[in-house]
Amino acid sequence: MTTEPVTAEELRETIARQFGRSLHIRTLDTGSCAVCEQEIRLLAAPHYDLHRLGFFFTPAPRHADLLLVTGPMIRAFEVAARKTYDAMPGPRVVVATGACALGGVYPEDPFTNGNAGAVLPVDVWIPGCPPSPLALLHGLGVAVGRLAEKVRDRSFIAPLYPERAVGDS
């Protein structure tokens, strides 16, 4: 087991060097409705094909570089989630995805922690309910430093005279 990188710069460098072309993802369902899991599973299908980008799924946290967390981190799952994270050798990245894991859908439910960040140190947050496979690919790209964050610059203020028709979501 190698030592974990200390500074953010080191982490970025390590990630780009080690994970840029091959990343092993371990998915963790902490009590979701499993629709996020379906979208994640679609990633391996021919249309999105995450293998062409060098990402792979692995069931063993010992072989994993990235932990993809879905679900609102129910209390019954805390120990298992912590154990999974502890079993991953460094350097490791935690990605929380889906509105549940980001603290949206069940923020005050007594049986959940509300969001994944309450138990695990999350590095990348991917919104969506469920996040489409394209959003997931973008998020994974951000996690390995290949793609840039765009949401930081986006203010979500719509132009006054939009080109699109109203009410089509």
Binding site: G104, L134, A135, E149, F156, R164
Partner: protein, 112 residues
Amino acid sequence: MTLWFIRGIRRGVVTTRYPARPDASAIDLPTPPAFRPRELTRQVADGVVAVCPSSALRRDGDVLVYDVGACTACGRCAAVAPRAVTSSGEFELAATGRSVLIKRIPIGEEAP
């Protein structure tokens, strides 16, 4: 089996080229809303806050606090206030900090 193979050859490669090139199907995705501050009166703001099922919208004085991370793209806020809310069309929403996803939209002002 042969039919399936021939059909596949004729359709060609269906794998998307994303992220190297934009994906054509992205236009059909349900996406979180974008707000127009001019149409967003206090009343409209309270209306969309009340109707949001996943606590993504909150009113904090003169500001609509909009948590993109909590949004489920259900479309209720757009249904209630179609002039104030439109679909943003943004799906590349990954962020490295949770606070980056919380936007503050001023109520009742001109767009900057």
